[in-house]
Symmetry: C2
Subunit: 398 residues, 2 copies
Amino acid sequence: MEFRYSDKTLGMRPSIIRELLKQMSDPQLISFAGGNPAADSFPAGEIRSFSDRLLAEDPVGMLQYSVTEGYGPLREACRAFADRKWPVVKGADEVVITSGSQQVIEFMAKLLCNEGDVVAVEEPAFLGAYNSIRSFGAVLRGVPLEPDGVDLNALEAAFAAEPRPKFFYCIPNFQNPTGYTTSEEKRKAIYRLAVKYGVPVLEDDPYGALRICGEDVPPIKHFDECGAVVYAGSFSKILCPGMRLAFCAGQKDFITKLVTAKQGSDVHTNVWAQRVCERILTQTDMNAHIARLQAIYRDKANYMMEKIDEELAGAVSYVRPEGGMFLWAKLPAEVPTAAFVQRCLEKKLAVVPGSAFYTDSGVDQPFVRLNFSTPTKEQIDRGVAIMADVLDELTKPL
Amino acid sequence: MEFRYSDKTLGMRPSIIRELLKQMSDPQLISFAGGNPAADSFPAGEIRSFSDRLLAEDPVGMLQYSVTEGYGPLREACRAFADRKWPVVKGADEVVITSGSQQVIEFMAKLLCNEGDVVAVEEPAFLGAYNSIRSFGAVLRGVPLEPDGVDLNALEAAFAAEPRPKFFYCIPNFQNPTGYTTSEEKRKAIYRLAVKYGVPVLEDDPYGALRICGEDVPPIKHFDECGAVVYAGSFSKILCPGMRLAFCAGQKDFITKLVTAKQGSDVHTNVWAQRVCERILTQTDMNAHIARLQAIYRDKANYMMEKIDEELAGAVSYVRPEGGMFLWAKLPAEVPTAAFVQRCLEKKLAVVPGSAFYTDSGVDQPFVRLNFSTPTKEQIDRGVAIMADVLDELTKPL
């Protein structure tokens, strides 16, 4: 039988990256394409021991239905975690637990967007956010991202245009795919523009704890005095992604509606993950754990940058990221990105073409996104060597 | 800041039942209102031991990102589980893992419904399905449910009406809230009407394994030869709900779109739950486990029915359910349901008014839904005694 799909479904596309990764069953293939946290960053021993103890002590509490808002003590622990450097969750805010921060994006789009509504987004940005927002029939308006944050004039123009965007989506810390960090000044300016034009901000902060150099910058939510900012924090990159655990802080009215949407979507988030996470947040030294993660990522990032500087000097340029998982590498003008990506893949290296992160993915972009969190140093060596070969090949006069 | 919500959000309502249950912090309160499986039905020991072994043997596989479709061996195990009595998953079908079967309803509605589209539903039926379908701006068309399944004339009229429904939602086994089971004849007739009018069926089967008497009836999906039926199976009632684990079988094109929707919603389902469930399905005696559950529920159901027959004889009537978790109790004509529910609550017994399960919940219905899976026998004794007192009070001549 032919199903009669909704209009929004007909516009949906699978994530190019997840489709690419699914085909990578070849164990010889080196991937700079994913966004997986380093496997040795997981607190696997702690997770195992808390899990076992909780399943022994309170099996029914671990396995029975729970409330949609999330396990109360975890909500409290998330609030404390978000506030560990600056006040982030304000007195009038509520915190809820979600099944990954992808779900926060999904619900923000569902709750705010009618079909045809506009959402302003950093461009380039996280493809999974674009896909989720579009899946409700909303239209993306890209605002160019610069190394210190979004272009403020373009942002104001986007906010002032009719129809006015329903919200603005951004990743101020170590953005995906660029690794760029929005400056404190621009964060304040984004907040001021949000208030001026009445456009809420969805501040997605999955990478904030993964700083490898420089000074922490307060979240936009820290400056929020009127409930304009919805803040999404995630445990995918600081504990592990398989748990699917994140949290969201925002004004009470919005969170109440989000909880209703979540009731109808997955009822509540997996309880095992919530209970284990609560123990880790409250009974382990999270600062020491985060320092260990930072050391792992600092080491990997520096290693990849060194290799690129040695082997691709002059050909490939990038802004040094202060954290996160990605390098945004600019290719020489004469090298077509599609051919570069294709030749790398033939030589068993996967990288993501920059165009995947633009609102119009059909236009070629002179960038590739390189992930440094997943590959080993040996894989980084071989991958950068493959990039050097391919660049050589593609820039050689015929 | 005032957020500008979407039209569909303004029509969303929280589940009356979950809101009711949230307020039940009073430990004195007896609840016949929930839908929780019996706590002693959870295979807590097996879950704990598989969990611990898997976290020790393959921590990275348990904690890293995974594919949206779900863990391959679990998908295979779900197919085998669904097919254990009759072929259910057909050769042209795919199976995908979801975060509870609530998510299947959500994605079916999202994938098929534009705002204003019609969805045919059994009436009364599961409130969470109504809420999820409505959250995409779709309009419910209720089809009256009889003790042997939906009224076929009304179903045909609903399918023939313009605009034609995008799909039909039903729970053929031990329905929520009525406990009714659709006969094999009516299942075949539903399938024939679905094909005749081109209206896909979403067959939700969370309770199918919980039969307490009578003979199993093949799922509608068993008769499906053209991909008209999407089948949702759940582990919430046969393993535990806190895991949030279910599966969906349907034609390939639909499942591909569902996977894209899931990418944008929660990326994938919690891996721990998937891995533990796969071990339980493949390495334990599920038939013995299900027989044990059936014994627990048979005992509780029979106990509640006995008590009602003893203490409320003549006043309250119901169709004996052959499985599931619920009795659909009809009150005497002269007793207003709202007053009955209110007086029960004052005497520390929670029951759900029947109107909650109708498309127009504002119209009083002479039914209450009684859950027998959660309360203990002592609680059943006290709860039925409270109902008897309240009926006495409300039927006494003034």
